[in-house]
């Protein structure tokens, strides 16, 4: 697909889209006028695409300095009556949370949607926190899409909800949804406010942009106002609770009598109308439910006991598998990717288990759940990561005195951590049903899974690993080599040198041979942590932080360090891009998020302004200079700032100037270049016949940085002449 289809594609057109691409189309179909982010996987592609397409989509887009600022840009825009979108990875919402919680209090005029991309199994994150908790913490609606089509549609849906109730809406995706591809059918694109048009403000043309109408009672949460705001928020959410219970984002997939996909709301409508209209009817309703559950009680007593202890379930169920489960009727409640897995398992194995798919998961649609479970003998809860819906279901059952077993994460049916997949979901359900293990599942062709044995097992078990590594020509490698050499020359033992690192490519320094990451918490933490180590220990401290990360969260702790007289070395690894997330611009570059010329902010001047007196910019590829600078920095009494400036090798348009070559006659095969640099271009070749070993440099991989040439003690590495 050509990317511009996301802007130009007409209603009805179908494209095979990544979840993140679908999110972009969703914002365009929703008429979003302003979008902001700080890049972070698994949400990065949304920003990468918007930075290319925003102008065509009549949208203003920026890579904000950090997620909190991105949140504030979106909040103020929505307060001014235009639709705003901000998106970030799950831990980004931690950074933004201070303003995030407040904007839920103040509310908005134009719609505001926050997309949080969570990362179960931590493909590229430091934790797998479940951001659905934030929906409860801040008290705002949460939607959970399962596939790219739903990502797009739920974004549109969220804007209507947001404007109806003047409240921001949180959309929670996971890696498997953001990075899933599926067929997406486009909808209409509305006319919107174009913030990129430069118009001088006059009384007559306010409408061409947003307009912020002053209303301190609404927008200034000083205690007096905040008291009212919280009251209003609770009342809004009470209304939205009804919406959740009647939302067509919540759907029942009917497998028990072979009808497919009935709207949960249709089935529930009668129920909830009664509930909403008068409480007497409500009571009757719950009496019926109570009767049901009393009847259920007897049936489920045995199962209940078993669920308390998972081992017990398996043990007892193994004894009398068939007669125990065959005449029981189970249901499943699922959201996000969990729904996809359980749907496929139930569908393929003909389990006859109905699924209540929840897309609108907070406020939790309790009435819908009560209705769904009314004829059931047990219910499975399928959700990634934390047992949030499960606790809601248990609470709902408690309130309504429903006594059927809940098979989820708490009782041990499903794993409590990491992302799910169809095999995990099948094997989890099998703990209760006992006849569908994935071990025995036969492919439609009748073929069984290959059981690796003999030589194949040997091959499998001894496969070489492929850990992510610093690229060939990456200047972080030279910096790490330089700091190690400096410490060695000063006689500082490894245990006396703490490396506090940060979030970025350079975190890969945790691996051998560099081992230059000893402590890491979050974006910008390398400097704050250094402050702590500096007072708590007598060890030397070297922190590493990238250019983008320094702007994001490194400036306040640097000022803190100077003001409080701490003593450590700060390395700002300025590789002229936000490399780990795919090369986005940052304030240190002369270009902004939409590709326009922008003022370049000097890291050096910031450090000087912060009061640092030792501030030196080096090219880390120059090893001698690097070693010398670190030696002086390590002996400096105060905060020494070293800016290691060299462009990332992945920046497009960088020309390769040369390749390195091993002078075989001078190489004594000490292998220092391999064992201390671990450059992907350098490897050891073993001749199959003669078994002779030879160090070689692959010139298709080599970027010509010369680090190896400079470090080789035997002067056995030279520049290859073409």
């Amino acid at each position: 697909m050509e990317l511009n289809r996301l802007v130009k594609g007409k209603k009805g057109e179908k494209q095979f889209l990544l979840g993140n691409e679908a999110a972009v189309r969703g914002t365009i179909e929703a008429g979003v006028s302003i979008a902001s982010t700080y890049p972070g996987t698994p949400s990065s592609e949304i920003g990468n695409i918007l930075s290319v397409l925003a102008k065509d989509a009549k949208m203003y887009f920026e890579f904000s300095i950090n997620e909190k600022v991105a949140m504030e840009v979106a909040a103020a825009s929505a307060a001014s009556g235009i639709r705003s979108f901000t998106f970030m990875k799950h831990v980004g919402l931690n950074v933004a949370s201070d303003s995030f919680v407040s904007v839920v209090y103040t509310g908005i005029h134009g719609g505001m949607v926050i997309l949080s991309a969570d990362d179960p199994s931590m493909f590229s994150s430091q934790n797998e926190q479940d951001n659905r908790h934030y929906g409860r913490l801040a008290n705002l609606p949460v939607l959970e899409p399962s596939n790219p089509q739903e990502v797009k549609d739920m974004i549109k849906h969220a804007y209507n909800l947001s404007e109806d109730y003047k409240i921001p809406v949180l959309i929670r995706t996971t890696t498997r949804v953001s990075h899933m591809r599926g067929i997406v059918e486009f909808g209409d694109i509305p006319e919107t406010v174009n913030l990129n048009e430069k118009i001088n403000s006059t009384k007559d043309n306010h409408w061409k942009k947003g307009f912020f109408k002053k209303d301190p009672k609404r927008f200034v949460p000083v205690p007096d106002n905040a008291l009212d705001m919280h009251k209003n928020l609770v009342s809004k959410m009470k209304h939205i609770d009804k919406i959740a219970n009647n939302s067509d984002l919540n759907v029942v997939f009917n497998f028990s009598d072979k009808h497919n996909e009935t709207k949960a709301t249709e089935a529930n409508n009668k129920n909830s109308e009664v509930i909403n209209e008068n409480s007497e009817a409500n009571n009757e309703n719950s009496e019926v439910i109570n009767e049901n559950s009393e009847a259920n009680n007897k049936n489920s007593e045995v199962i209940n006991e078993n669920t308390k202890n998972n081992d017990k379930i398996t043990e007892i169920n193994k004894k009398n598998t068939e007669n125990k489960t065959n005449n029981k009727k189970f249901g499943a409640i699922a959201s996000g990717s969990g729904f996809n897995y359980v749907y496929d398992v139930i569908n393929e194995d003909n389990l006859g288990i109905d699924i209540l798919k929840l897309g609108f998961t907070y406020p939790f649609p309790k009435e819908l759940v009560v209705d769904f479970v009314k004829d059931l003998d047990g219910v499975f809860i399928i959700e990634e990561v934390d047992p949030i819906m499960e606790k809601e279901v248990l609470a709902t059952f408690g309130e309504n005195q429903i006594n059927i077993p809940v098979f989820g994460k708490i009782d041990g049916t499903f794993p409590l951590i990491y992302e799910f997949n169809p095999d995990i979901v099948r094997d989890s359900i099998d703990k209760v049903l006992n006849h569908i293990s994935s071990e025995n599942k036969v492919h439609k062709t009748g073929n069984v899974s290959v059981k690796l044995d003999g030589k194949l097992t040997d091959l499998f078990e001894n496969l070489p690993s492929r850990p992510p590594t610093l690229c060939a020509g990456c200047s972080h490698r030279s910096t790490y080599f330089g700091v190690r050499r400096a410490a060695e020359e000063l006689g500082i033992a490894n245990e006396d040198l703490i490396f506090s690192s940060d979030i970025g490519c350079y975190t890969l320094g945790v691996s051998p041979p560099y081992e230059t990451t000893d402590y890491l918490l979050s974006m910008g933490s390398s400097i704050g942590d250094a402050c702590g180590f500096s007072k708590a220990t007598n060890q030397k401290i070297v922190s590493f932080i990238g250019d983008s990360t320094f702007f994001h969260g490194g400036i306040p702790p640097l000022i803190n360090g100077v003001h409080n007289n701490h003593r450590f070395v700060v390395t700002i690894l300025d590789n002229r891009t936000t490399a780990m997330t795919g090369g986005q611009p940052n304030p240190g570059l002369p270009v902004d998020g939409m590709g326009d010329v922008a003022p370049e902010i000097s890291i050096e001047k910031i450090a000087i302004a912060a009061g640092c007196e030792f501030v030196e910019t080096i090219n880390p590829i120059n090893l001698m200079k690097t070693v010398d600078t670190y030696k002086r920095a390590l002996e400096y009494d105060g905060i020494a700032v070293i800016i290691a400036k060299h462009p990332c090798t992945l920046i497009k348009g960088l020309k390769k100037r040369r390749s390195m070559i091993i002078k075989q006659d001078k190489c004594n095969k000490c292998l220092d270049c391999i064992t201390t640099l671990a450059c992907p271009a350098i490897s050891l070749e073993i001749n199959k016949e003669s078994k002779e070993k030879k160090v070689i440099i692959d010139d298709t991989i080599c970027k010509g940085c010369t680090t190896c040439l400079q470090m080789c003690k035997n002067k056995a590495i030279g520049i290859k002449k073409d």
């Binding site: 697909m1 095979f16 990544l18 996987t41 592609e45 493909f123 590229s124 399962s146 596939n147 890696t175 498997r176 990075h179 899933m180 591809r181 599926g182 067929i183 996809n340 897995y341 749907y343 569908n347 997949n421 169809p422 095999d423 099948r426 994935s438 599942k441 492919h443 439609k444 062709t445 073929n447 069984v448 899974s449 290959v450 030589k455 194949l456 091959l459 499998f460 001894n462 496969l463 070489p464 690993s465 492929r466 850990p467 992510p468 590594t469 690229c471 490519c505 890969l508 041979p513 780990m580 795919g582 391999i674 064992t675 671990a678 450059c679 992907p680 271009a681 350098i682 490897s683 050891l684």
Partner: protein
């Protein structure tokens, strides 16, 4: 024959930077254009720094984009040792199409590991599976004009296997829709070379 009630699962694996995701998107888009339901998983981020990359394509009425253990109809591997890693998705009937040119990790010495013998990989696969197609992808790619067309050689190879459900013409159309016109001729040549080596 494959029809709309059927399922077809393609597991594609290799090393970051080999063009695996692009190849997968081309197949997925072709499936969509032929009127099938299709979903796909891809993982971005750290795995692209020289790490293992895999995508999972499922054609048919699936909701989930992860292939179950033993349920790949075909494994398309861009790197010989990665073929072995992909076998967790294989059953006895899985067709295995793979590139025989290795990418040797630079970390072998640090981790005291060895790269397996390619001949042994080929022999072991052949003695355990009925449909094994080792392909000298690098050679065919260079013959087509550039090593960069390796992914198109392998695409050509996989579409010529007996069970592959999509037509060659729709895959080519999808390739043209996803890659720069500058390289269409080279990529067509590469697809043909891969196609003919299996047929």
């Amino acid at each position: 024959m494959f029809n709309k009630d059927n399922f077809y699962n393609i597991y594609i694996c290799g090393v970051g930077g080999q063009g695996i995701i692009k190849t997968s998107v081309i197949i997925g888009e072709a499936a969509m254009n032929e009127g099938y339901e299709v979903v796909m998983s891809e993982i971005h981020g750290m795995s692209q720094r020289g790490g293992v990359v895999s995508t999972e394509l499922k054609i048919g009425e699936y909701k989930s984009s992860i292939i179950e253990k033993g349920h790949a109809d075909v494994i398309l591997s861009f790197e010989p040792s990665e073929t072995i890693r992909g076998l967790k998705k294989s059953n006895e009937g899985t067709e295995i199409v793979f590139n025989t040119s290795p990418i040797i990790p630079s970390t072998l010495i640090q981790f005291h590991q060895n790269y397996p013998d390619i001949k042994e990989i080929i022999n072991e696969l052949k003695s355990n599976f009925n449909n094994v197609y080792p392909i000298d992808g690098e050679k065919l790619a260079i013959e087509s004009g550039s090593l960069l067309s390796l992914n198109m050689v392998l695409l050509g190879a996989v579409i010529s296997t007996d069970t592959f459900p999509l037509s060659k013409s729709s895959v080519i159309k999808s390739m043209k829709n996803n890659l720069s016109p500058k390289f269409h001729d080279m990529n067509l040549k590469a697809i043909e070379k891969g196609y003919n080596v299996v047929k």
